[in-house]
């Protein structure tokens, strides 16, 4: 009985995370569309990747134990979701970092709302 209650609560938390992820995804996409240049768009891309992909994946992992019709394969679903979430947490910021650094070095896009540019100063 208690286990059922805990499972149901976890299920609703998971549903909330999935919905939150969808909203974040839309916000990230709008930001990516509306922001003025590449270095500003990096923020929106982070919301799209972490908020839009990792949150729903964790949500699915929380929802999975209550999905009885999946049989024993619901643990497969849960494991796949967790591994993917873990990988995206590691990879998405790293990819953005590599892209931003390379773009800055190659001067493909000008750094426009610029107050101070430490990376430029470091390079000398």
């Amino acid at each position: 009985m208690l286990i059922e209650l805990v499972k149901t609560i976890i299920f609703f938390i998971g549903m909330g995370l999935v919905g939150l992820g969808a909203v974040f995804d839309l916000i990230g996409a709008l930001g990516l569309l509306r922001f003025p240049n590449f270095f500003v768009r990096l923020h929106a891309a982070t919301i799209g990747a972490i908020g839009g992909a990792v949150y729903p994946l964790i949500g699915v992992a929380l929802m999975a134990p209550s999905l009885e019709s999946f049989g024993q394969y619901r643990w497969y679903l849960m494991g796949g979701a967790i591994v993917t979430a873990l990988f995206i947490v590691l990879a998405a910021p790293t990819g953005s970092h590599a892209l931003a650094r390379a773009t800055h070095r190659a001067k493909v896009v000008p750094v426009e709302p610029k107050v101070v540019d430490h990376l430029e100063e470091d390079k000398g």
Partner: protein, 296 residues
């Protein structure tokens, strides 16, 4: 655009329009069928069947286990069992494409030796510094990700007969590890680890050899006792060698698991060879080519 190009373009447009008209009248099934085709139904019924139902559908079959592919996954059952020879030759095509690529870049070994010589002479300043590869963050995270990649590719390949996946898919996933290492850490790191061209060629040949031997095993056993057959997983009740060991419908199902592992080795090593060749510095090729042209 000349006359010839115009005629060619007109021909392309006409043939595509013809195809469109044919399709819109429903010739190839513009709306896909709702029923399953008999061949597909056959595969679906018999891929993991423990002697149930076969005699009801096909009363003429007396030994139901003759058609059993011992896999719960339809595509793998077809790939490595019912159409096993096709997959064997597909792997051979991949193998010979890589042989062709290696022979196109046949100056590889000479240039690598030259590079090594140069490094030892110059006390190897550019190969050991932090100048190689991308930034420190990328290097560290990429090293962490190798663990994830190798684990995922192994799980995809070794569960190929139970869940979607298989040898080729696992190998293509495994190939991302050397590729990321080449991009993020430089190819000298990869060669220092020991993933050299010749080692990879050996592993790849080993994989293909294992596949060939597995395919030929029933034939060799059959030549001894009579009734040989080739490359099939399902037990043949009329043959001397009645099939690979399949422990119920457990983890290890006949020969499919071995085929998948060998294919994982072959494909992963083949892609590593390709990327090692492709990322060779351009200056050595220029030097070698100019020398060869000068000699002539």
């Amino acid at each position: 655009m000349g006359t010839r190009e115009k005629i060619l373009l007109a021909l392309i447009i006409i043939s595509l329009a013809l195809l469109a008209v044919i399709l819109s009248f429903g010739a190839l099934g513009a709306v896909p069928l709702k029923t399953i085709r008999p061949l597909g139904s056959f595969y679906l019924y018999f891929m993991a069947n423990n002697n149930i139902m076969i005699q009801e559908i096909y009363p003429s079959i007396t030994k139901p286990s003759d058609f059993w592919a011992a896999s719960t996954e339809g595509v793998t059952a077809i790939l490595w069992d019912y159409r096993g020879l096709d997959t064997l030759f597909e792997t051979s095509v991949f193998f010979f494409a890589i042989i062709g690529s290696v022979s196109v870049f046949r100056y590889y070994s000479a240039s690598l030796e030259e590079k090594n010589k140069k490094n030892t002479n110059n006390s190897s300043i550019n190969t050991k510094t932090s100048d190689q590869g991308l930034s420190l963050i990328v290097k560290l995270i990429t090293r962490i990700n190798f663990v994830v990649i190798i684990a995922v590719s192994a799980s995809i390949a070794f569960h190929g007969q139970l869940t979607p996946g298989g040898g080729f898919q696992g190998g293509a996933t495994l190939a991302v590890a050397p590729l990321l290492a080449i991009a993020a850490l430089s190819r000298y790191f990869v060669e220092d680890v020991g993933l050299k061209k010749n080692t990879m060629l050996t592993i790849r040949t080993l994989g293909l050899l294992i596949i060939g031997l597995l395919a030929l095993a029933p034939l060799i056993m059959g030549l001894v006792g009579g009734n040989p057959y080739i490359m099939e997983n399902q037990p043949k009740s009329w043959a001397m060698f009645i099939g690979f060991p399949s422990f119920g419908l457990g983890v290890l199902l006949g020969s499919l698991a071995f085929y998948n592992m060998a294919e994982l080795l072959a494909v992963g090593a083949g892609f590593t060879v390709v990327f090692l060749l492709l990322t060779l510095p351009e200056e050595f090729f220029k030097k070698i080519l100019s020398r060869e042209v000068g000699e002539q």
